[in-house]
């Protein structure tokens, strides 16, 4: 079974990179003058050609005594058309209890299909609809890392920059927010192994970010060091709230608040965040989350960085300036 899962992953990825058109390129998450970076804990509000490789996190679980958990994940996103894209990713986890056994293995394969509802450049507003599928039984369910059942999560995403505030707002115009809300629907309502109900969960989160690149190029060039001008300080939050089929269990919201910073370059970005549990049910102590994220459309503008269908092979439209 394990070999079949490996082959499935390899085939899915091979198909993703096959038959790429040799046309011209377009953009990732630019909305007008605003660039929304790829956020680490939640998703940005655009379909894109990009890859997170790797995302690494370290945290201590909510168990008593707490176990130490390492997660190493990878995800690649590919536009099929200009407005429709898919992502595929997986995570390898290791959970080591104090003096107890160590569990390790892959989580379930996760795919996401996303459609760009809106990109309004003048208001720096983007909206996105997605369907996240966590494919049950494709991970290490025997060791408790993955679930044997599938979970569907229809999700709405948005991003809003505040560059459309009047000039008198000054430096506030460099702020932006993103958010997402999804409803997790498991394919089973009862876990026979755990002898527990499998709840339906509201998965929600977002970010507040301050763009130093935006400050420099749109508001005020303060002649700061170049490294500073590439930074986007950010606070992300990701939460889960059980809302249905949770009889006998707590309905408490769990999650983390992640203050950190993203350094944005021309071809890649690097992010580092602390993970602060919001309550005792969310974990013990402060964890760490880091990510290297590659802009495939900038690295490979004529191949992988193109939508599979309808790339901008035609000449761009002349502006009427």
């Amino acid at each position: 079974m394990s070999a079949i899962h490996n082959c499935s992953r390899a085939l899915a990825l091979a198909l993703l990179f096959a038959t790429l058109p040799l046309t011209e390129a377009f953009a990732h998450c630019f909305v007008g003058a605003r660039f929304f970076p790829a956020t680490l804990a939640v998703d940005d509000p655009c379909v894109a050609d990009e890859m997170s490789l790797p995302t690494v996190s370290w945290s201590r679980t909510a168990d008593t005594p707490p176990a130490t958990e390492w997660d190493v994940s990878a995800e690649v996103s590919k536009r099929i058309t200009e407005d429709f894209g898919i992502s595929i990713g997986d995570v390898w986890s290791q959970i080591r209890g104090p003096g107890g056994p160590t569990m390790a293995g892959f989580g379930n394969l996760e795919t996401t299909a996303q459609y760009q509802l809106l990109k309004d450049g003048s208001h720096e507003l983007a909206m996105l609809l997605g369907l996240i599928v966590d494919w049950g039984g494709t991970g290490a369910s025997n060791s408790g890392i993955a679930t044997p059942y599938t979970t569907l999560t229809p999700t709405y995403y948005f991003g809003k920059g505040f560059g459309d505030l009047p000039d008198s707002a000054g430096w506030l115009r460099a702020f932006a927010v993103t958010g997402q809300i999804g409803y997790q629907i498991p394919s089973r309502s009862f876990d026979l192994v755990q002898q527990a109900l499998i709840p339906q969960v509201l998965a929600w989160g977002g970010s507040i970010q301050y763009s130093m690149p935006y400050l420099k190029s749109e508001i005020a060039d303060l002649q700061l060091p170049d490294f500073i001008n590439h930074l986007i300080p950010i606070v992300e939050f990701q939460m889960s709230t059980p809302v249905e089929n949770n009889f006998g269990n707590s309905f408490v919201t769990t999650g983390t608040i992640n203050p950190g910073v993203i350094w944005v370059g021309s071809y890649f970005q690097v992010g580092l965040e602390a993970q602060v549990p919001v309550n005792a049910q969310s974990g013990h102590g402060v964890g760490v989350l880091g990510q290297l994220h590659l802009y495939l459309d900038d690295m490979f503008p004529k191949t992988i960085g193109q939508p599979l269908i309808g790339g901008t092979g035609a000449a761009p439209q002349q502006l009427k300036f």
């Binding site: 377009f26 953009a27 990878a74 420099k216 190029s217 508001i219 900038d298 503008p301």
Partner: protein, 118 residues
């Protein structure tokens, strides 16, 4: 762990060396973005992080009433875009730019500079 390495190796396949280009960000401008200058400039010079396509990269400058105060089409050379200005009086001026990098990545933006006391 071996499975994870297989997965990562597959992901790395497309990362063979290529001649890369990227989006053209505004690196700096003269007058400086958001600055106040004592004497009116004769032109706005913008330097980008990538080379530009001259035919599709352009800029216009407007005064506080929205009237254009530039002298027409911007000149593009490499990663620099220059637009001439009419004689400016004291006041605030907005530069709107659109840049197409040589690999057709499109970016746009706007910034303000001020002449004389505000």
């Amino acid at each position: 762990m071996r499975k994870f390495l297989t997965f990562v190796s597959l992901l790395l396949i497309p990362l063979a060396p290529v001649a890369a280009r990227a989006h053209a960000f505004l690196d700096h401008a003269s007058p400086l973005v958001g600055s106040t200058v004592a004497t009116a400039p004769h032109e706005v010079v913008m330097t980008f992080t990538q080379n530009l396509e001259p035919a599709f990269s352009t800029a216009q400058v407007t005064d506080s009433s929205g009237a254009r105060v530039d002298q027409g089409k911007a000149q593009v050379s490499g990663n620099t875009m220059t637009v001439g200005l009419k004689a400016l009086g004291p006041g605030s001026y907005k530069v709107h730019w659109h840049a197409l990098s040589v690999d057709t990545h499109s970016t746009e933006g706007a910034f303000t500079f001020h002449v004389g006391g505000r």
